[in-house]
Subunit: 254 residues, 2 copies
């Protein structure tokens, strides 16, 4: 129970990539090849319609492993990647595509579907963290961060609100409807991304979610551009954020 | 006319600091000791009540010179540093202190006084740039940035709006009343800082000024905290912003 089963391993450019399952859920763990002992861990959540090894996930992991010597783990969200689609998943995705085709707002569907997935995913992420902390290279007392944008925020906000082991988080690009109430319970440092010309999330909605976090240390990064145009340099910024907040708590870093 | 007269020079930790006057106005130029040829230039504007060598100025210059090999120059604003105070300066500063003591809003006084100073300072900055570009190590065709927060923004926004030689700018922490109209004429990339709990500048005012810039590439960095609590890491971020926007235009960098 709550144990990682490694299923594949590959090493390239100084990074060990290990596929695993935990309670049957497929995931991936990226670690420094040089074998950092008791390095910090960052859990990530992928975006809607994507999966654990999407280039955005692998790219962020590379920055965190190479730049900070951290471990990085992500699991497929329910209904995503290598996991089965339920009838409910199919119906919600069909509703989303229909709204998109009709030029209607996507937000009511995305908000309720992501909330549904988050309810399933939060206990999965807690079990993932239990399992990862059993690994000697991670351990139970190291610092742990969470990084998820879009659907990764829909899952990450309730997860971090419920999980005292997370000590810093990067979120962004979601609506306040469901998440603002949960964000009020988050007090750890956060960095939050939103796009100033997002065609789905209004400025007021984005700012309202940022405002809801109870964190005394919080930073908002707004960039010009549409929903999918979040600049690549915000990933570098997130890595520096984790370096500031997680490295100082690490006793031995590669 | 519009020529630098160097009055003192000192070198420490790889940085050459040269005091100068231009049209009688005192300034300072920080450059890499290793003698970068045709390196980029960043002009800075200091905050209200401060001066050209305030630790915030010297600290930012150190980051830019050591981190990017840039030249950095700043002049005392009218009524500041080594420049004479006029009766008007004295009256406005007295009005500011009186408002502060009475617990009244400072913004009407700061906005009108900074606007007055900016009208004087914009031609001074243009003359400064003319003079600096006559130096062989800078030249007339290198990239030039501007960095000023608070009063540095009050001077910088009309300066950059009027000065096509500036190709990237970092601003922040001022009111839209006078500046928003001028910001509409600025199209170069900007990074803009504001404090989420600023006791002088409301969120709406700060966001309105950010929104006014016509730049297609613009980033807003909001941090929790009061007016004077702008985090130190925003200086590092500004340096990376200038590195992104000014380095690529430099042919030869130390």
């Amino acid at each position: 129970m709550n144990t990682l089963h490694f299923t594949a391993e590959a090493t390239s450019n100084g990074i060990v990539e290990r596929d695993f399952t935990v309670n049957g859920i497929p995931g991936v763990l990226w670690s420094p090849e040089s074998g950092a002992d008791r390095a910090a861990l960052v859990l990530m959540g992928h975006g809607g319609g994507n999966h654990k090894k999407h280039p955005a996930m692998a790219g962020r992991a590379r920055l965190l492993v190479n730049g900070c010597g951290f471990h990085v783990a992500v699991i497929d969200a329910p209904g995503h990647g290598d996991r089965p689609h339920t009838e409910h998943d199919e119906a919600e995705i069909a509703a989303l595509f229909a709204a998109r085709a009709a030029g209607e707002p996507e937000s009511p569907i995305v908000v309720r579907y992501n909330d549904h997935l988050a309810k399933l995913a939060v206990p999965e992420y807690r079990a993932l963290l239990d399992a990862l902390q059993k690994l000697p290279a991670i351990g139970i007392d190291g610092p742990v961060g969470f990084w998820g944008i879009n659907m990764g925020t829909a899952i990450g906000v309730p997860f971090v609100a419920a999980e005292p082991r997370i000590t810093a988080a990067v979120f962004g690009q979601h609506w306040p409807d469901v998440l603002a109430e949960k964000a009020k319970h988050i007090t750890v440092p956060i960095e939050f991304d939103l796009q100033w010309d997002d065609e789905h999330i209004s400025r007021e909605e984005g700012l309202a979610l940022f405002d809801a976090f109870a964190s005394t240390e919080k930073s908002l990064h707004v960039n010009s551009g549409k929903h999918k145009e979040l600049p690549r340099f915000e990933a570098d910024s997130a890595v520096r954020f984790f370096a500031r907040h997680l490295v100082s708590a690490v006793t031995s870093l590669a």
